[in-house]
Symmetry: C2
Subunit: 192 residues, 2 copies
């Protein structure tokens, strides 16, 4: 299970064996069944997760009990409720598994320690954080400036692996439109 993470790391930067061992030693492997939660809103999000296999979503539930997906994660992606993980306050979002899933978890303490001790990892994390912010800004831009149809096409183009794997209503929730609307967009453009 840890091999996937090792492959991921070595593809991204050069780590010594000792460093790899250190990073892995700090990780807690966990298996999640479909629909099982990693965090529920209201709890503190104690972990950041690296996805070995399977998939998860981060979402929030609004006052009408409607769920809105903020983030998907599949193999080799990271996921956490960043605000709760960072501050130690209760999470407003929830994370659950969309399929049977295997993750590696780091507690805040392990994470901070390991970043302090393994400088290459710290640099990698900074890079990923920067890219994550850029992605967030780009998604926000798309949301305030493009139609649902354009956003769907961009989504398909950006995540070709994703959109065949996720049921339509989850993608709709991610894009911020109703399932019916996305269904009509699909029909209209013939893009499945």
């Amino acid at each position: 299970m840890v091999e996937a993470f090792r492959n991921y790391l070595t593809a991204k930067a050069s780590f010594t064996d000792a460093e790899l061992a250190q990073l892995e030693a700090a990780a807690i492997p966990r298996k999640l069944k479909r629909h099982q939660f990693l965090v529920r809103s209201g709890e503190v999000c104690h972990y950041i997760a690296f996805v070995v296999c399977g998939s998860l979503r981060l979402y929030r539930t609004d006052e009408h009990a409607e769920e809105h997906i903020l983030r998907f994660a599949i193999e080799n992606w990271w996921i956490t409720d960043a605000e709760s993980f960072r501050t130690g306050l209760p999470a407003v979002g929830s994370i659950d598994a969309l399929e049977d899933t295997q993750v590696l978890l780091w507690s805040k303490e392990s994470w901070d320690r390991v970043k302090q001790e393994v400088l290459t990892f710290n640099a990698l994390e900074n890079q990923l954080a920067g890219r994550n912010l850029d992605a967030q800004v780009n998604r926000l831009y798309a949301t305030i400036s493009h139609t649902a149809e354009e956003r769907y096409h961009a989504f398909v183009a950006a995540f070709p692996d994703f959109y065949r794997r996720m049921p339509l209503h989850l993608i709709a929730s991610y894009l911020g439109v109703s399932r019916e609307t996305l269904s009509r967009i699909r029909k209209h453009t013939g893009l499945y």
Copy 2:
């Protein structure tokens, strides 16, 4: 001009006089007239800016020549085209002054050096980056889950200083609705 920055810093963390001097020495003061650009899309964004007084916006222009505001900045806020500043690639966004404005600028090299040398500042920057990401996620959530009216109220509540100062059409652009719609929302709710 540098005093405003010094006040800002000392309110946020404890810096030695030497550190303050070092941070300030690396900064380039600049005055911008209303409508003057800090970066234009297509150029590389060489600087990160601290706003001493005045205000700016970061925006992108879509294929219909429509402008969409990604970020405002007033006194004591930071602004840059993060993606371009980080990568050195041409910016897709533009930054211009909404009023006559004074900023302090750091080049990427100065910024990285100063973060390496002044550890307290590095920690502060990490904290700000984390909060910035959280704000971005929260705004995205609001955009995909709330109506324009709810978003306007949240905006007014979150930035009470802002919304009297910015013309309506800029706020509309920030919220992702047409000026007419925001005008009607205002009329409808009586919230100006």
